[in-house]
Symmetry: C2
Subunit: 404 residues, 2 copies
């Protein structure tokens, strides 16, 4: 009971602060003494602080205002994708403290080595949080695949070549403090949450987010809630077959939407000498590949415009399916789609207008994400923040006061 | 305030009855006097009745139990589809009082004549409710198309040839008592609600319902809620293009899923001499067409098995898309799909297993609806019941007591 009241009080202060203890008592229907005690506990846990004039006298003192203390508790979101590992740490107010990405060949490294590298990135980020006086409340790992969130296992991630990989269990054996809870979830779902909370279309209660990576996944916010489906697998648009006579997909099927619009498809068409999977290629961060594509376009290589027009059209074909099925107001283009949005959107809009159901297609627009390749890890950190706000009894700060 | 408390008390009695006034007071946190007054009003509106031993004495009398009085208030759901009009009237407990369907060529009749016919069916059904002592609380009309539910207008219904048809406004000019509210909604969405509430997969919080009619639509229950999308248009699976080199669809596109699995496609392949749109054909109820298909199959006409296998395979191809995007536990086959389920499901399952994402496809099964062609009108009546329970202040019964 105290545990849920603690969350109730924290939620109120987080959503309505600055507010007085009396105001919290009225709003939560808890009595004043209880609120005072709960607030003390939240202060001790580094979650709430006082603000405004603080007179010491006991008679007629102005009521002291409480606000969320965002600064001393942190959240870590990390993402392992085909060609990079990303990490974002935020505080409880969602401010980004650390944002890094390293190039990494997860596809070629296999799950063991990839998880070793992921563990290193996590350990380094935690070490960097330490001098900031921030206690991490949890870690969420984003993976481009189907995830059993109940046990942190990746059921299948075609582009990583993973099947049945116990991510949470493996990380719990790394040099990460055992009291930090570790969750695992699908990258597109986490990115969709980030867009809904922090992104260019924040607050749009019906939106679809598309991960423009080597793999293409979808995260769907419908009626203001993340669409999970029975197993949390909803939104897997990348492996809907759109061209049975097309290319083989890493998932084993032929002609998946991902083979038409994924970064590997663009690279293969625009800069064939740089295609994924060629032995002569070193690992490259997607940003490097995009810079090269843009440079060749500037140099007048006609293959680039042809490739972009082709990908844009297929993006619109898939978008029409998404509009007919989810009726979103916005389709947020993430990852590399965002970087090339100005080039992709005109062709995509034409196909959406042609193939999407009238009434809904015209009211749905494409927007480029401004969260870049960090969207999934940002959303992963957001999930940790939400969990901390929902169950503050789990939080124990290591530094009673931040270092001077 | 009284209005919402009235709903609160009714909801509690509906969900937890039989229960005493004291129990209602405890559960709703309303005081006993208020509950007594609210219960009196609900009794006067024919929504609640007493049950169990009713002693008149005031000292130590056993508390009287209250239950939902389902019998005196009714809900009317009607459906206009390509080849029939259906009507179902239920009482507030969901018991079916009237269930009828007439063959009607809505496609050939145009909106004006179709709405005249619909009004006739409604008037006749209301007249039949009268001697049962049932006061209708509302009417909901199901239409196979996109509906603006805020004003009861059909935006577009390709198979009816309707565009911008103001159904609610037109019916308000018919001979229907002006105090009966009229709503309009999409047939598949209403049928999905009926399945979730009354059907073979009732209570399955992630399910997709498919209308097997001339048109094929989808209604999606996700996380226990109907998926609406930004405009209530979600789930329009019938017009996703699955074969760009296929047949022209009535919606103007080519190769929509509906052209592969709709009843018109089956009839065209199985019994080409009976194809929709042939001038020599009289209007036929879908049941008649199905009976003929089954008879010819029994007679050994090979075209029937070929047609069913073809439709079944395309059903599975579309189901794979639905599984990847919605991750449902069950796909409920409605309309004609239900009648032919035993023949269609094996081929559909093969394609779903082949094309659906592993992890989700294997955990999703097809089931045949047992609500038949009445699913949408059953769901439409259900919506009226829900609205009545949510705002009982709108209900005024015409017959204080049912006729003897």
């Amino acid at each position: 009971m105290r545990r849920s009241n603690l969350a109730l009080v924290l939620r109120h202060i987080s959503g309505h602060g600055p507010c007085s203890r009396s105001a919290v008592a009225v709003a939560t229907r808890l009595n004043k003494t209880t609120v005072t005690s709960l607030v003390s506990e939240l202060q001790a846990r580094g979650l709430v602080k006082e603000t405004g004039p603080q007179h010491a006298g006991s008679v007629g003192r102005p009521s002291v205002a409480l606000v969320l203390d965002g600064s001393r508790v942190g959240a870590l979101g990390v993402e392992v994708n085909v060609d990079y590992i990303a990490a974002i740490a935020t505080d409880l107010a969602g401010r980004v403290l650390i944002d890094r990405r390293i190039s990494f060949d997860a596809m070629g490294s296999g799950p063991e080595r990839s998880l070793d590298e992921l563990a290193c990135v996590i350990e380094k980020t935690l070490a960097d949080l330490e001098p900031l006086g921030v206690t991490p409340a949890g870690i969420t790992v984003a993976v481009p695949g189907l995830v059993d969130t109940t046990n942190g296992t990746v059921v299948v991630a075609p582009n990583l070549g993973w099947r049945g990989v116990k991510v949470a269990e493996r990380l719990s054996r790394a040099d990460i403090p055992g009291d930090i809870p570790i969750g695992v979830d699908n990258d597109a779902n986490l990115a969709a949450l980030a867009e809904y909370t922090f992104g260019v279309a924040a607050g749009t209660s019906d939106l679809v987010y598309l991960t423009g990576e080597v793999g293409v996944g979808g995260g769907v916010i419908s009626g203001g809630r993340l669409l999970g489906g029975a197993d949390g697998f909803a939104g897997e648009v990348g492996h809907v077959v759109v061209d049975p006579s097309g290319e083989a997909c890493r998932c084993g099927l032929t002609g998946c939407w991902e083979t038409k619009v994924g970064l590997a498809a663009l690279v293969r068409m625009a800069t064939p000498d740089r295609a994924y999977g060629r032995r002569s290629q070193i690992v490259r961060d997607p940003e490097e590949r995009l810079a090269e594509i843009e440079q060749r376009r500037a140099e007048g290589d006609p293959r680039v415009d042809t490739a972009v027009a082709e990908v844009g059209a297929w993006l619109g074909i898939g978008a029409a399916m998404l509009v007919n099925l989810f009726n979103p107001r916005v389709i947020v283009l993430g990852g590399y789609f965002a970087r090339l949005a100005d080039l992709l959107i005109p062709a995509a809009e034409r196909e959406l207008a042609r193939l999407g159901m009238s009434g809904a297609a015209g009211r749905c627009r494409f927007v480029a994400s401004d969260l870049g390749f960090g969207a999934a890890s940002r959303g992963a950190a957001g999930v940790v923040v939400e969990r901390a706000l929902s169950d503050p009894a789990n939080i124990e700060i290591r530094h009673p006061q931040p270092p001077a």
